[in-house]
Amino acid sequence: MSPTAAGWIVLALPLFGALALGLGFRLWRGPVAGIIGTATIGGSFLFSVLALIGLQGKDEQHRQIASSLWDYAKVGGVDVRMEILVDPLSVTMLLVVTGVSTLIHLYSMAYMRGDEGYSRFFAYLNFFVFSMLLLVLAGNFVLLIVGWAFVGAASYMLVSFWYRRTTATSAGIKAFVINVVGDIGLVLGAILLLSKTGTVDFLDTFAVAKETFGEGGTASTGSLTAGLLLIMVGAFAKSAQLPLHTWLPDAMEGPTPVSSLIHAATMVTAGVYLIARLHPLFQLSETAMAVGACIGLATLLVAGTIGLTQTDLKRVIAYSTMSQIGYMIMGVSAGAYVAGMFHLATHAFFKALLFMAAGSLIAAMAGEQSLDKMGGFRRAMPFTFAAFVIGGLALAGIPPFSGFFSKDEILAVLAEEGGWHWILVVGGYVGAFLTAVYTWRMIFRAFWGPPVPEAKELEEGHLHHADVHRNPGTGEIEDTDVGFPGPEHHIAERALPMRIAMGGLAVLAVLGGLLGIPKVLTPLEHFLEPTFADVAHPAHPGTGLILGGMAVGTLLGLAGIYVAYLIWARPLERGEPATAISAGWQQRFAPIHKLFVNKWWFDELIDLLIVRPTRAIGRLSHDAFERLVVGGALMGGATGATRGASALVRRAQSGFLRSYAAVVLSGLVVVLVVVLVAS
């Protein structure tokens, strides 16, 4: 099978699944919807593997294959085709997306079993996968933007999945609005590039980029930089980078599999993929690359510090996601493409795993997400605990887990580039330390210490169910009908599909490093070579640098875990309550804690700089312009004039035949007089 044919089938299967589930949602009873959803995505994964095999069968120069079905639009010399681009980069992304999606669908089959919106959930999820695959496979800017926007819409639908929760719907709106800001940036950037290159096709754009924007080209480098910065606005919004990141923590209002799939493994990495996809353009603009790298660094540090102070389990992982994507953005922006994609893949594995484990833990707490109320789940949930530990070790970068190799490879490449990139390296290592601390803070608080009542109940063999269902954020009382979470909870220990999914991801999280052990085993780098062959000065860090970086990374990771252990695990084991421990530390670092726990006041800053002025302008235009000018003068004037004129004319329509006759005859007289005067 040719890779492009496989690519089209990969696209078609989730679309078919979404349509079948969405249109026939009344037909599917029981777990049928979940089986359909999982099977279509599983099929997609199989065909992605076929695409990989097909691509391996070609020689290296011909591994970038574009295929178009029909003309989408052909206007003004621009030919937009329904076109996919199958090359090592997109196939790598395909494998990650479909693979992780299959496991998460499998997980959702059990996890969402009690929800009233079961079919709807899988329809949305399949639609999301279709959109994501469209984004990944797009062979030109237009399809990319279509997929990009579809992904945002799917994210909105899934964040607001429990649509009767006001917090969920407002979080969905926030996510959608911020994503649309990014979409606008992306569209404007694409148009700017189109106006200079005259084509929307990726391969054509790359081919003419050097002549157009290089030395002596027809367009200035400034316009390229402007276009790329606009595109990066889109990438940053989707990937939750500063300052467009505030939607991601709120998006945790969605069901946990959604957080796992969309807001950790796939959608939020679209920005990374986009920069890697457009690397021939970024290579030409030093400024854009530098901006991307700095934003990535800032995000990874800010998110890491916020993660230290959050008490909501899912939000801790969400900030961790932001931070890890910061690494990837920093990497791909600074030229470490292979390393960035490598980290993207491994992060998808272990972060999806962490979210799944968190979902299992939250289910055991009957929907409660606060770390303050958890503790001592080690014995009650051994499988979940194991998943957390594997995910946590991978995230903290402890060898030989996957995160260790990928993160250190990014930092090693940056170090090799030298110069001001050393700032990025140092920041990255600081971030690595923070990562280890907040990850293990979360794990220690949830699993160490004396068991909470829910854990004890579970140890006795009974899964805790809340008498009254509440919104974990606000404490509002909810029922369990459609639009709210279902009445039943499912934990990994008791649901085989969840165990299979988590087990698969755990294996990947452990062994993912095999994709790229520097100098020893580099299948990913070798596979991606055709895509990144045009990179001018690929940085290959020396053995000393690699080993040194690995040593520093390992030490920092272990140090972080040890610090977390000192602060949390030891006092917890001694029986100190978790809240007391945190209160003590909060007092010791009061100013910094205030900064971190308020998320660096980004929400407030955006509120102050954008929301409030916009609202003020809106209110002004409503009060002054709309009410006075439009409502008062224009509409009121028009209706008033019409009413007055009609009242005047109405009086003439008295209904008296004789007055009509009088008017007609008066008219005759007037006409006669006029004629006489004129003659």
């Binding site: 209904g655 008296f656 004789r658 007055s659 009088a662 005859l665 008066s666 005759l668 007289v669 006669l672 007089v673 004629v675 006489l676 003659s679």
Partner: protein, 233 residues
Amino acid sequence: MNEALFFFAGPIAVLTALGVVVLRNPFYAVLSLVVHLLSLSLLFLLLYAPFLAVIQVMVYVGAVMVLYVFVNAYVGGADDAGGGPGRPLRWLAGLISIGVAATFGIALLGSGLTAIDSDGAEVGADFGSPGQIGELLLTKFLLPFELASFLLLVAAVGAVVLARRRGGTLPGETRMIAALDLLAPTGTGSMREGIGAINPVPGAVNTKLPSGTRPDGGTASGGTASRDGGEDR
């Protein structure tokens, strides 16, 4: 001779016309109009229009005026009440009619038509004879002639439709029932229904005035012009 006849018939025509307008009793007004039309036909004769003069007498005086007298007798011939809401119209009417007459007069005098001050063209003895008019009607004015006949047909049918009794019966009248009438409610299609006296339309706005302000039914000579004056009679 011509002058004598004209100054005999002309003033009579004007005076009787005034009589039609001024006389209160409709019967007298009709009689006045009869005299007016007779004098008018005399004027027609003076204008060499013998055929039309005869037609005028036959159609108007012979047929139309008889009809007027009949209807007048049938309706009751109540005196026309002056005044009412149209009282200012009386003054206005005078002004307008004077205006019309004045402007016409000025138009005639100042028209520059020299022939006005003459006896008109010399015409033969058969000018205006039935034969010549008949020839014109069947050649040059064939279409207007046919249209006029059609107009008369429509008017005749219309008059029959207006004056006949439909569906509804008057109080105390026995009703003749056609087969299809059984399907319709009583009075369907009658004018009484049309004015809302029976079979009120569902959902229609009730425009009846409160009973206190309603002019007493039947005579309808009240000064107040109630907008639904005829509704429940």
